[in-house]
């Protein structure tokens, strides 16, 4: 019998390289899947067009409600491409055998997650551009000229994406199966958008609702995006009468930590019922 033992000097491919390979595959699969593109990618923009067209009047001073919605709903976009797509994606990977198959190869868990991060980064960037394009074209949203505003946008985006992605990984374990995961994950997302001043102005919400929503990241994401795209005079309309950017950073940062801890303690390679 011929020995075909691999020389142990051959190096295994790097986690980063494999992660980028996974990322390319994840992107191809995401953008080729009609459901993903329609429900995850286009859904927030469609809701923005609908709500913005209905609530075109009103608003505060010179700023119509549609522009407030356009700014707030960037948070919806991130919830969709980071939280939902990751949560549903991992639940599906667990169910359809992707994770089991990968577990039988020399790929590392880190490479798998780098693949998800690549998908989330590209999809979210494209999503934010899409949401802003809708805001600018349909509702005359003004893009800021002050570089400091863009810097604010950048750090809020990064914290939001990290928090939502980590929470999405953790939440992927809540669903019993890949099929039910979209329903399970959409419930908190829709509820939080109603209670966090995304779909409905904070001033119209019962105070108890506002207090509860303040514990979750969505309210702070939306508030942060309003600070970037709305005139500073509108800060007076916020709950505290200011943009509270310090608190935005604090709450989103805290959720990044919570998300990481949940990820590390709850992530499973296999389906629950498989034992």
């Amino acid at each position: 019998m011929t020995a075909i033992a691999l020389p142990t000097t051959t190096t295994l491919p790097s986690t980063l390289g494999n992660g980028l390979t996974r990322g390319a595959a994840e992107l191809r699969m995401f953008f080729r899947s009609r459901e993903a593109v329609l429900f995850t990618f286009s859904f927030p923009a469609i809701v923005l067009v609908l709500l913005g067209s209905i609530f075109n009047k009103g608003g505060h001073g010179d700023t119509p409600m549609s522009q407030v919605l356009a700014a707030s709903m960037i948070a919806s976009g991130i919830l969709s491409t980071a939280f939902i797509s990751v949560g549903v994606g991992i639940a599906a990977d667990r169910e359809d055998g992707t994770l089991k198959r990968l577990r039988g190869t020399p790929i590392t868990a880190g490479a798998y997650f780098i693949g998800k991060i690549v998908l989330v980064a590209v999809a979210t960037l494209a999503e934010v551009v899409l949401m802003l394009a809708v805001g600018v074209v349909a509702f005359d949203l003004k893009l800021p000229s002050d570089p400091a505003k863009w810097l604010t946008l950048a750090w809020i985006l990064v914290l939001s994406v990290v928090a939502c992605t980590l929470l999405g990984v953790a939440a992927s374990g809540l669903a019993k199966s890949g099929r039910s995961s979209a329903a399970v994950l959409n419930l908190p997302v829709i509820a939080l958008q109603f209670t966090s001043g995304v779909y409905v102005a904070m001033s119209a919400l019962p105070s108890a609702m506002v207090r509860v929503a303040a514990f979750f990241p969505v309210r702070w994401m939306a508030q942060g995006f309003r600070s970037v795209f709305l005139p500073d005079g509108l800060a007076a309309e916020e709950v505290a009468g200011s943009w509270e950017l310090g608190r935005v950073a604090l709450v989103l940062g805290a959720w990044c930590v919570v998300g990481l801890v949940l990820c590390l303690t709850t992530f499973r390679w296999t389906e629950r019922r498989a034992g």
Partner: protein
């Protein structure tokens, strides 16, 4: 070194014992078939060997390493053909195989694997569009792309048409000829007989018989059945040595439908699992 060494393997799910003290040795370079009815513990055993599942007890060494503690190097030297994956539906066959090639230190050539698995006509088709049998060939392609020393084939030809099965058997012989050790689980006894150097029957969580396709369960020592038809009706004689019976019949004349039958692998198998199940 043996490719697989298992002693006293045990695994239960809750209060249900799935594997109860299983012993198994597979030599390097062998094609070894594991047979057994559904629920006998085949898949549990294979999944423990593949490193997919924890065990409750017993000693296991696969390529000299405990699969429960094995690392990336070990995973680069085994290949697994999964039983029920439906992943990567939106990628093409070639994209999928290429992706997996990049996970291994010394992969086979992608085009070569695509051809070896009979997928050259479907290389640019999306995995979603493939038939069940074609999909299984993709599973096989992903199992061998890393040039494994040990290949796990879990019911690889389920859903294949007869021609595809023959082609697949040729592929297994090619891989075996290159020195790959193969652990095959299958429901098809003709498949085990055609491919395996040795085989074992598993029932109720343990090995009940082990041997070559010729010797399994004392097949080589079992009496042959001589049957014929004449004016007196149908006759059947079981004998360890059927030659004198046949010679005597030849002297009589007017005998039709003469048959000498050794028990088939299927007879032996059904006997084995019937006795123990």
């Amino acid at each position: 070194m043996d490719a697989i060494e298992v002693r006293g393997l045990r695994k239960s799910y809750g209060s249900n014992p799935a594997v109860v003290g299983l012993d198994l040795t597979v030599a390097e370079g062998e094609v070894f078939a594991l047979l057994g009815p559904n629920g006998a513990g085949k898949t549990t055993t294979t999944e423990i060997l593949e490193g997919h599942r924890d065990r409750d007890g017993g000693e296991v060494a696969v390529l000299g390493v405990d699969p429960g503690k094995a690392g990336r190097r070990w995973r680069s030297e085994i290949g697994i053909v999964l039983q029920t994956a439906t992943d990567a539906a939106e990628l093409t066959v070639r994209e999928t195989v290429l992706q997996f090639a990049k996970f291994y230190p010394e992969p086979r050539d992608v085009q070569e694997v695509v051809e070896l698995c009979g997928l050259e006509g479907k290389a640019d088709a999306k995995v979603r569009s493939l038939s069940g049998g074609q999909r299984r060939r993709v599973d096989v392609a992903l199992g061998i792309i890393g040039r494994p020393r040990l290949l796990f084939l879990d019911e690889p030809t389920t859903g294949f048409d007869p021609e595809a099965r023959r082609q697949f058997w040729e592929l297994v012989r090619t891989l075996s000829g290159e020195g790959t050790t193969i652990l095959l689980t299958t429901h098809y006894l003709d498949e085990a007989e055609a491919l395996a150097n040795r085989l074992a029957v598993i029932a109720a969580g343990r090995i009940v018989a082990e041997g070559t396709p010729r010797t399994l369960g004392g097949r080589d020592r079992a009496p042959a059945t001589v049957s014929w038809h004449d004016a007196g009706g149908d006759h059947e004689v079981r004998s360890m040595d059927p030659v004198p019976t046949v010679a005597e019949l030849a002297g009589r004349g007017a005998v039709s439908g003469l048959q000498v039958k050794q028990p088939s692998l299927e007879d032996i198998y059904l006997d084995l699992i019937g006795a123990k199940a």
